[in-house]
Amino acid sequence: MTRKISNWFTTDQAKTDLRILLNRPVPSSQTLKDLESELQSAWHDGCRSVSDPRYNDGRDRLPLYAITYWREVTKSIEQQALWKEAAEWVSDQHREWATVNGKGELVKDLGVFETLASILVSSKVPTRWGAVPAYSLAKFLGEKWMGTDNITFMLDTIVGRVAGDRRMKGKVWVMPPEFSQAIVEYGSSDSATAARGSRLLECHEKILASAHKVYAPFNINDCHWVAVCLDLTSGKVVYAFKKWVEDKLGRTISIGGDELKHAHQNDSHSCGLITANTIESNIFGDSLWTPLTAAEGRLMWFNLGGRLAIPRKQRAEAEKPPNPKLSIHHLLNPDVGQATHDEIAFVGEEARSTESGDDCGRVSDKAEVAVAASALQARAQSREPGQAGPLQAKPSRALLNLAVRPGWAQGPA
């Protein structure tokens, strides 16, 4: 039934107990949108309450902020649906892999179910360009398109790896999607848009002046991500980068072609992951993304972000160190124990070098996760030629523990 949106607003004082909303469905998205756009003019017309004509013949008089309540509830419902879909995808993958050699316990080993259950909807994943909402991580689990938040998180992890490599520090830069958007704006023919792009890029001029290579994700028509490399040593670049580099960095460059080594996408949803992989592959020599390992890659990214989104205290509680006494399992599997010990030492050093306060604690978490990610990648690369792609072979428990438990590598169960 269609109701005029003006019927929702009244000049009466709000007097209905707001708790009645707890047992009432929220209005449709379209109605909510209309209510929000009408709210300002209704307020100027003297309206002081909302009447919800769907119930009680419209006799209820709810405060105007009931609209905000509905908006927030709608957001929660949408996020829950996204999360539910993601959880179902993980369960499906787990069932599908049950009989696949090397993958049977992968979902469990990565601790994906635990991570899914531990993340609060309102939690955030910290990145150096500002936190991104944890619910966006659900897009990794399934065939969802990657959004700005996902790309930002993946690139932040790559920046963590670059920062840990002395040879690259200050020479290789990986920039967030906002940088690419500003570059596109700078190249715009509209003067106001170009001026804003120029202003947004000002802060990057100094740091990039001495860069050798700059990687950034560019979005095409809001449907496709590509990795772009500005190679200042060879003087090659693609897209609008050229104009900004010549204007502001004072260097002459030419437009290159499709020269970055990259995987070939064969589906309609993986370009965001391939973009991050292209950058990783060109900087660190990581294996290229393959369709065979697409699902594992998504699980890994989700897990890395998920661990960062879980509050530090909660994580510490769940990750209490195991009993230091040697168990029978340790005695029977000395190699596993040794590998774990070595990798703990490496992560510990990384953490100590970055941790000096509360805020830095978050940074150390990221450093650990970045190290874990690179360790997993390194493990994947060191496989025998002809073997399946990265992570297809079952990673060691020690490495998996590192990936899922930053800060503490748990001993074998």
Partner: protein, 103 residues
């Protein structure tokens, strides 16, 4: 406004105003097309409120836009006070982009 409020050392008054969480501040929100929307808010008000108001004003979902101040994303709990914003400062709006398709 009382006469007394006009007196005194202007720079000192300005300093007090900067620190006062209840003092208001004018903020300009600029989109990629250069459209400007002005807001006057308390220095202690969470900028997430401003973000919601802006989204509703331009008819977009707040989760589909990003707000940047000095190039960094504004977080939910940030306030003009916590970001040390000054009167007439600019917040830039970036739209959320998505992608997945093969070209």
């Amino acid at each position: 406004m009382s006469d007394n409020e006009h007196g005194g050392n202007p720079s000192q008054d300005e300093g007090v105003k900067q620190e006062d969480p209840n003092a208001t501040i004018n903020i300009k929100v600029v989109s990629s097309t250069g459209e400007e929307v002005f807001f006057k808010i308390k220095r202690s008000t969470k900028l997430s409120k401003l973000q919601g108001a802006y989204a509703s004003k331009v008819g977009k979902d707040v989760s589909s836009i990003r707000f940047l101040y000095d190039g960094d994303r504004i977080q939910e709990d940030d306030t003009p006070l916590s970001l040390e914003m000054e009167d007439n400062d600019t917040i830039d709006v970036m739209v959320e982009q998505v992608g997945g398709r093969r070209l």
